[in-house]
């Protein structure tokens, strides 16, 4: 039986230009929705799979503002049975701070396996899982897309430069999950009901964050220099002429 903790982060859902706050220190997310990284959706799915297979539980944790309970409830709706909210101004938390705050929670509990997303969709720091593992004195692997647990041995698969790479490591461990190996499940109606009702454990952290952010800027807008080669199938000749001119097709 293994109790799994999966850590997720509330981030703005943007697909086009990102707006910045007036002080240039954060993303202005008032007009967009929120989500978690695709990596974390996969991590939640794997947490539920491992917990089910071993007869354990899957707990979801987030460090973030009060509104981040929305993302916790999404994870409960698909099958996590416990939710921990470390309420904090996550904007000022660097990766080492987040790892230290999660480590505090893990130390007081009995989570054999801790999952995180490979890198958060917003800050993209690539370090929380690794720093957490060192804080807990556990082995860690990153970029993992499928995971199975047999006794105390984890088999983890990720993709490397020459094909799929397989690791075998002892549990307790920390694993950073990458999307692509599992299809996150959709919430059922029963799941949604559970998500509404389940009490969320709100706790605070003793970690004092030390952001190194000096400011955010939008990339310079690139003036459109697109040359439209035509409309519909008639453009084919112009396309191939262009391919010849850039040397991709020989004349």
């Amino acid at each position: 039986m293994t109790d799994v903790l999966v850590c997720i982060k509330r981030v703005p859902e943007t697909s086009s230009q990102v707006l910045l706050s007036e002080d240039g220190m954060s993303v202005d997310a008032r007009h967009v929705g929120h989500t978690v990284s695709p990596h974390e959706e996969a991590a939640v799915e794997i947490a539920i799979q491992v917990a089910e297979a071993s007869g354990g539980t899957a707990t979801v944790l987030t460090l973030g503002p009060a509104d981040a309970v929305e993302q916790l409830r999404d994870a409960i709706a698909v099958g996590c049975t416990r939710a921990i909210h470390v309420e904090a101004d996550s904007e000022s938390f660097g990766p080492a701070d987040v790892a230290a705050a999660i480590a505090e929670v893990v130390r007081g509990e009995d989570f054999g396996l801790v999952l995180v997303g490979n890198d958060a969709a917003d800050s993209g720091d690539f370090q929380v899982g690794v720093r957490l593992a060192y804080a807990l004195g556990r082995p860690v692997v990153t970029g993992i897309s499928t995971l199975s647990l047999d006794g105390d041995t984890l088999t983890a698969r990720g993709s490397g430069p020459d094909g799929d790479e397989i690791y075998e490591l002892p549990c307790p461990a920390v694993v950073a999950i990458q999307e692509g190996g599992v299809a996150p499940r959709y919430p059922s109606i029963v799941g949604r009901m559970k998500a509404k009702k389940l009490p969320i454990e709100t706790i605070s952290t003793t970690v004092s964050p030390t952001t190194r952010r000096l400011g955010l800027t939008s990339p310079p807008e690139r003036p459109s220099t697109v040359e439209v080669l035509g409309e519909g199938p008639e453009a084919a000749k112009a396309v191939v002429d262009m391919l010849v001119s850039i040397g991709v097709v020989s004349s």
Binding site: P12, Q17, P161, E165, G180, V240, G247
Partner: protein, 327 residues
């Protein structure tokens, strides 16, 4: 000393590591610390080619951790080998490339050195205090970040700079060493690699031509003409996240923030809107041709060339024209 973790392939030092070397050299010069050294872990496929690349980049010494326990990749053990050199040489900066492997090893290095790490770095902003600019929000925003401390770790975003040879090339000395490794360092090594045909991403990340397809492909069966175009141009297929999450194509073909970063000579983006998370993966293509029904799609306005139309009509016509000209 500025220390660069280099990754190698049968051609020598990988392109992204050569980019990191150029970036590190420029940083060192501006910081008044021009001593550029490199560290490579595990067996080198072609030592002469590696040394030629390093000499060209102005590297004085290659520290080569050659120990059979490092032959199989394992981030903790590789990091132990890097930290060994960084500590004994009092490195001011440890730089690597923003590949999955580079990023994983550097995260271990930063933790072991108890210092800050900046991922996806694209520019050096200031040397006092040391400040870098890096991509966040999948490349949709730049963050200025301060790297306080005696040592810092920097992962350079793929294709943020071109690899430029140093003003003077050098003969790089090789120092082979055996790093001190503990049992814990060796717990997380790759136990085996499985090469399923076409399953690895190197074909996509190294391709000169990538034919991309998004939701506009319409269904899993909508790829026939796109695959033919890919074959006619001798390239690889890359897709948007919508395509992989709908299960039309496998994830290893995904381009973008949570997929592969590509830098082909030509990217043909068919039926792809060009959301920032996709753009993050394809923006370093030299030429982008967008084929889209929507003339206002970001992919169209940011491309070099565009055809406005239904890809299911345009792509077969291009294939036909290519076949006709080949005779």
């Amino acid at each position: 000393m500025i220390l660069v973790l280099v990754e190698t392939d049968p051609q020598g030092v990988t392109l992204t590591s050569r980019e990191a070397l150029t970036f590190a050299r420029t940083m060192g010069e501006r910081m008044g610390d021009p001593q550029l050294e490199a560290v490579a872990v595990g067996p080198l496929p072609d030592t002469a080619a590696v040394l030629a690349h390093l000499g060209e980049q102005g590297v004085t010494t290659l520290h080569h951790a050659d120990d059979e326990r490092l032959a199989a990749y394992g981030a903790a053990a590789w990091a132990a080998a890097v930290v060994d050199v960084a500590s004994s040489g009092a490195a001011r900066l440890v730089v690597g490339s923003g590949t999955p492997r580079g990023m994983e090893v550097l995260a271990h290095v930063a933790t072991r050195l108890d210092c800050l790490m900046a991922a996806n770095v694209i520019a050096l902003e200031d040397t006092d205090p040391l400040t870098v600019s890096r991509q966040v929000m999948g490349g949709g925003v730049f963050e200025r970040m301060r790297l306080d401390g005696e040592v810092a770790v920097v992962a350079v975003a793929g294709h943020a700079v071109d690899p430029v040879p140093a003003a003077e090339s050098r003969t790089t000395d090789v120092r082979t060493y055996e790093p001190a490794l503990t049992d814990a360092d060796l717990l997380t090594r790759v136990v085996r690699t499985e090469k399923a045909a076409g399953e690895d991403t190197s074909a996509l990340t190294g391709a000169k031509v990538v034919v991309g397809a998004g939701r506009g492909a319409g269904s899993a069966d909508g790829f026939t003409d796109l695959l033919e175009l890919k074959d006619l141009l001798g390239g690889a297929l890359g897709v948007s996240r919508v395509v992989t999450s709908l299960g039309w194509r496998p994830h290893h073909e995904q381009v973008g923030q949570t997929g592969s970063r590509i830098s082909p000579d030509l990217y043909v983006a068919c039926g792809i809107s060009g959301a920032i998370q996709h753009w993050a993966g394809c923006q370093s293509a030299k030429t982008i041709l967008a084929i889209n029904t929507d003339p206002d799609a970001p992919m169209v306005t940011q491309a070099h060339y565009a055809v406005i139309g239904d890809l299911h009509e345009v792509v077969p016509a291009i294939n036909e024209e290519l076949r006709r000209r080949r005779g």
